[in-house]
């Protein structure tokens, strides 16, 4: 029995290494395919740095969304939250003249409030999180539209420190470190996995499940607030949309988060999210370099990501997947 467990211990070490190897191999293969297809205008070291910087934006949100996803909940209001938080941050920074304090404070507080609303509505209404957040997304979109007054909100050029190196990198690294810390060095991380594993037992262990579910949405909201800072700083402006048009912004952070869940068994969810988002960006920019029509890009990207997640997710035989 001891030897088995020693073997298990050894396996655990190699699992993490294996996880990294798979992720770096995926990044390399993605790069290689497009480098072969379009060698001149894709994949130089400068280009790769640019793709990586772009991927930091979604990664910052995805590492927060991971807490919600692992608990077995979902959020369809990601795009609407980013638009609303960006517009509030931009308004406070520019129109109200609060500068970086307005940008950072506005985005973070807006994100936190959105997280509280998502969590409280989900708990109080006792209906699936997907439905709650879809309904709330419409409200967030409308709110953003009212605040923006139908006008595109532009962040002044002197407030775009987080849209370029090293500001974006520093903010993203601090964000990743915070997510890693919360997940591994606080009770929140333990309870996140406990609730995701068996909510009933977690409740019987004295864990205030509802409180921690709301907290997961709040953490997620704050991290989407950080993503909003990076988004508006990088893109310089934000337009409020309606009719669920914000949903298109859900895709990239959600896919990155799926990488985190898929690589949870390798013990490296945060790292997987970061590298997963990087790979997604490589694929996107690869298609742009190829000049492929958007519809084709979407179809191939969708399939490519499904295949990658399928191949990298270690589902045991007989394990039920929902």
């Amino acid at each position: 029995m001891d030897s088995t467990k020693n073997a298990v211990g050894g396996k655990k070490m190699s699992a993490k290494v294996k996880g990294y190897l798979i992720l770096f191999a995926l990044v390399f293969v993605s790069w290689l395919i497009f480098k072969i297809l379009t060698p001149d205008n894709f994949g130089s070291p400068e280009n790769m740095l640019s793709y990586f910087q772009a991927s930091l934006i979604a990664s910052a949100g995805a590492v927060g969304f991971y807490f919600v996803l692992v608990m077995g909940m979902f959020d369809f209001s990601i795009g609407a939250a980013i638009i609303l938080a960006s517009i509030i941050g931009c308004k406070l920074a520019a129109s109200m003249g609060l500068g970086y304090m307005g940008l950072i404070g506005g985005c973070l507080i807006a994100g936190a409030i959105i997280g509280i609303l998502n969590g409280v509505f989900y708990i109080k209404l006792r209906i699936p999180s997907m439905i709650v957040t879809t309904g709330l997304a419409l409200i967030y979109e409308a709110t953003a539209n009212i605040i923006a007054g139908g006008v595109e909100q532009t962040l002044p050029s002197d407030l775009r420190m987080f849209g370029q190196m090293p500001g974006n990198l520093i903010l993203a690294l601090l964000t990743f470190a915070a997510a890693y810390f919360i997940l591994n060095y606080t009770k929140i991380g333990t309870y996140t996995y406990a609730i995701g594993s068996n909510e009933f037992i977690a409740k019987n262990m004295g864990i205030n499940v509802n409180k921690y579910k709301i907290l997961a949405f709040v953490i997620s909201g704050i991290f989407f607030g950080i993503m909003s800072i990076l988004t508006i700083s990088y893109g310089s402006s934000m337009v409020a949309v309606t009719g669920m048009a914000s949903m298109s912004r859900n895709f990239i952070p959600t896919m990155g988060c799926f990488f985190g869940v898929a690589f949870k068994k390798y013990g490296m969810p945060i790292q997987a999210i970061i590298l997963g988002e990087f790979m997604i960006n490589i694929i996107f920019y690869g298609f742009v370099a190829l000049g492929a029509p958007t519809a084709i890009q979407d179809v191939i990207t969708g399939f490519a990501l499904l295949i990658i997640i399928t191949l990298t997710t270690k589902i045991n035989k007989g394990e039920i997947v929902k």
Partner: protein
Amino acid sequence: MSEIRLQVQNLCKSFGITKAVQNVSFNINKGEVHALIGENGSGKSTLTNMLTGIYTIGSGKFILDGKEVHPKNQVEANLEGISIIVQELGTLSGLTVAENIFLGHEDQFVKHGIKNREAINRKANELLQQYGFKHIKAEHQIDEYNFEDRKLVEIVKATYFHPKIVVIDETTTALSQEGREELYKHMDRIRKEGNTVIFISHDLPEILDKSDTITIMRDGVYIDTVKSADVTEDDLKRLMVGREVTGDYYRPDYGEKVSDEVVLSVRNVSVPNVLEDVSFDLHKGEILGFGGLSESGMHEIGKAIFGASYDRTGTVTLADGTEINDIPTAIKHSIAYTSKDRDNESIIMNQSIGDNITLPSLDDLAGKCKLLSDKKLSDFANKFAAQMSVKMQNIDQFVSDLSGGNKQKVVLARWIGKDSDILVLDSPTRGIDIKVKQDIYQLMDTMRKHNKSIIMISEELMELIGMCDRIIIMKDGKLNGELPRSRDLDENLLISKMV
């Protein structure tokens, strides 16, 4: 005179119109193993679930060492000095061993909101060493360990803080002999420390052997408290059921010739790391038993026959030449299977009793145009629920509301309703009370006489000896001997081939 540890006073609990516990009062002493027995649905688990904070107290009181306690959850119960080891898996996937042991009690390792992972792992490893579970590592994910080891982790979790009362709720049925011995050792230690074990089990010889005092409950009502030394197994049966348990407990016949007609042939079946080159035949009207230690591979036999094993090689063939490689083919060809892991593999918890019973028979019950009649489905479910004496409000009640034994009855009712010709029953009487056990044995005997063939997989050696025409013993994934039905068979002979 022994000192009283826990006074149960006028305790009541209802679920809807069902009165699960009715005005129960009795005392439990310090330094004793106090067994709580009764048929399924007698209220034992409801009572201990109230004591451990899993259910809220309906009315009445628990007085622990002179002080009233009413914990709202297990952590509060732990703080009062009460803990529980549950029947099914009580550890959480996704967490480490250490995180599971201290779940809900992490604050001792948290300073300024930061969890000291090294300290929590160090403390957990110390405990695991003390308990002699050196092969379990605190920092490893709990998912890396099997059911048995995870139960050992639960023992540590429930007892490391020297609680005044440890509730052990039908845990032994889930353990192999080795695991049981480990648990008994710790029960004895708790008793010697002057603390108390409340021990729930349906295994009456085990109850008589391991407990000092026994309280009997029936239909949610307190019946009696007796000293183990003063009663026999038959006395306990009478107290539990409310009348003499008459007639033959197991099938009475010996020397009957089993038909030569083979209905199912298993050849060279292997499942990686579980089964190795297993071959045998099942005859018409035969009860073929499989025994062994929990990890001997015997439980996989059932899955392999039912087409539920992954990576199986070899063949499972019916008399007409049909090969069984998947579950739909097995069901279509009249094979039924009940899993040992009832809650996860046999029962759909959040569906009604009716839905659970009718599920595999929907095709048979469908009328013209494949439409289903509510009345027909209800009649069918009611008939077989009644045949199995399921204690329920009606067939629309959710299975999740039922006691463990009643859930098992629903599983059996499903396959009896399907009228299958070959039944693979893995631990069919696990967690089932004495009266229903007897009913199941009689049902199996009747089925056998009606030329149904049964494979009975069980860790209860006496029921294998009492019910089977042949017993195959498994060891390390291989067949390790076959014993024909005989009055001379005893447990020791089987055990000698198991270990």
